[in-house]
Amino acid sequence: MGSLAGQGDGLMNELLYRLGGSAATAATAATAAASAHGATVAHRTHGQARSEALAVPKAGLPSYLEQSPQVRERFARLHAREIILTVSHLEKSFASTRGSSTPALQDVCFQTHRREFLCVVGPSGCGKSTLIRILAGLEPHSAGEVLLGGRPVNGPGSDRGMVFQGYTLFPWLTVKKNVMFGLEVNGQGRLQAEREALQWLQLVGLEKFAESYPHQLSGGMKQRVAIVRALANQPRILLMDEPFGALDAQTRARMQAHLQEIWRKIDITIIFITHDLDEAILLADRVLVLSAHPGRVQELIEVPVPRRRSLAQIITPEFLATKARLEELIYAEQDVPAEGRGAGGEHADAGAAEAYARGEDPQAAALGRAARALAEEQEQYPVLARMTDVSDNVD
């Protein structure tokens, strides 16, 4: 496992070593101490090596491995929680026309802890969606193992909720009945299911739309219903496959805030696939970076941005440092730089990181203003009794 990851990263490490510099030792000590599990260890050691090479990683930004004491403490708490999901040596290959097979995922290993928010990013074609579909049980894997709470995953089940990019609400059911669906097929009585469905709708502020049909809702509202429909079954883990990809920028920002709020309130582990790096850093505790053709784990990054997070943080040094690292990992391996870069303002954001470092930052300032404006107009969240037993704090 270690050797494979090493193969993938060898070239990158070379490059970084040549850049040279003194080590950011405090950060590496902290992260090394915090790591305790097979998959993470391998990647952490790579990260360590890299951080030693990277004193001044990108024009004055701190290293993405540097964590403030609060963040460090939060990760210590995270690692102390039980492991929910173990993916070990997962392989997936698709049979192609001439009898040969194309590998889509190769030796993917990682673990998630209870109440962790894990984002998966990678260039197009890295098998992000395949990975999450395997976790959901919608697709068989070729080799390796997926353990959920110690038991192997074979086929879909109500212990894993899934939210798709295309809403997938049942158009013939009202919003309330959509949320009741999972409860009813799992044998709950109608009255009980209805009561719970209404509570869940209250969590996302949609109880007024209980009797509406999905086509009467906006995209953001539909996706909120899809989220609570998945949560109503009280799954161990929530799998989200680019859930906000189809939404406009403003709605997406609001949904990100909303999702964080939901995640804070209930006992749920989230695996979230996205191609939007800002989104990944904004939401995740850790970001799993995959490489393409075949999909392999490049690095599992602990996001050093403190919680609770808001859009205003996207110009903080930690955020920019993490983003720079992600861009490096994802774009460095692409032969054609245009591919995968076009979508979103990723060029502009990379520019913003450099501008920030130079001290003159018109773009960053503009971004900051936009973020503040958005934060101000964010809606009020319903105050609720927490719905499941949440004994410890994720912030």
């Binding site: 879909p156 109500s158 997938t168 158009p171 999972g182 079954n233």
Partner: protein
């Protein structure tokens, strides 16, 4: 700009324009019919005799082609006899709109030619019953089989190749066989409608079922739905609006087999009326009867369309397609 709205591709019409166009789609053909019927310079290839003159075989009111009429006139003139006289007319098989309208009323109020013969409304009712039972029997088997074919590849593979073969066989080809098996009354007629409808029905509904968004099935699976529930809780409700639309189209299909079906065994129903009237050259009555079938068909479909909008309030595309 420049282009009028109604000429833009895929541009929706306002409700008023929709109504206007809908009415015009009936008014325009009728107007054309009126023009041909009532404007003597248009077409009118025949002559209707108003005075037979010296020609012994002509009667007042009979028609003959203009060339024959002109020959008779010339012949009479040559012999110094009074020539026949007449007015330009359309052939007897094209009655005027007014005649057909009269026939519409007359067909219902005229008693049957024989004492035990059926009135027109009885004939019509008989036809509707034949259609109904043919359609119901076909649907009772065809709809579930179609859904199963659409849902399970194994069932599709087991049944569809044979059905594909069978649907090319013209239903009337089974007429003699049906009479031999089911007698001469309604049995074989219903059988022909079933044969004509059923095989198309299975294939159409199987296709509709296959078009269900697979993401909905996956969503249901991740919510813990088991395989059998998947059929009843997702597949069937998911395809229901489309299936309803298919059924409307197929009902129209069943009607098109009616005339052929009713000719099998003892001729009955509206077909009996049409063949009788054609035999007496009462073509206005024939047109009226044909129009009645159209009106019943379109009326049923409009009622079903309106019902569909009530039954499936979540389906926003319903009502645009008419069968």
């Amino acid at each position: 700009m420049g282009q009028p709205r109604w000429l833009r591709i895929h541009h929706p019409l306002s409700p008023r324009a929709r109504l206007t166009c809908g009415v015009l789609s009936f008014v325009l053909p009728v107007a054309l019919w009126c023009l041909i019927s009532y404007v003597p310079v248009l077409w009118h290839p025949d002559v209707r005799i108003t005075d037979p003159g010296s020609v012994s075989y002509l009667d007042v009111g009979s028609t003959l082609p203009r060339a024959a009429f002109d020959a008779e006139v010339a012949a009479a003139r040559m012999q110094g006899q009074p020539p026949p006289r007449g007015v330009a007319a359309n052939p007897i098989y094209l009655p005027t709109p007014l005649q057909v309208l009269e026939a519409f009323y007359g067909a219902f109020s005229t008693p049957p030619p024989t004492r035990d013969g059926p009135w027109l409304h009885q004939s019509l009712w008989h036809s509707i019953q034949v259609i109904f039972w043919g359609y119901v029997i076909s649907s009772v088997i065809g709809v579930p089989l179609g859904i199963l074919c659409g849902a399970y590849a194994s069932i599709a593979r087991l049944s569809e190749p044979f059905i594909e073969f069978f649907r090319y066989l013209p239903a009337p080809a089974f007429g003699a066989l049906a009479v031999a098996i089911l007698g001469i009354y309604d049995g074989p007629k219903i059988a022909i409608i079933v044969i004509g409808t059923f095989f198309q029905q299975v294939l159409i509904i199987a296709n509709t079922t296959r078009k269900l968004d697979p993401a909905l099935l996956e969503a249901a699976l991740t919510l813990g739905t088991r395989s059998r529930q998947l059929l009843t809780r997702v597949v069937v409700p998911g395809v229901l609006p489309e299936l309803y639309r298919d059924q409307r189209v197929l009902l129209g299909w069943a009607w098109t087999y009616l005339i052929v079906a009713e000719l099998i065994g003892t001729t009955s129903g509206i077909t009996w009326f049409i063949t009788q009237q054609a035999r007496y050259q009462h073509f206005a009555n024939v047109y009226a009867a044909i129009a009645m079938i159209g009106i019943i068909g379109l009326g049923t479909d409009m009622v079903l369309g309106a019902l569909g909008r009530r039954l499936f309030p979540w389906d926003r595309s319903l009502g645009r397609v008419t069968g």
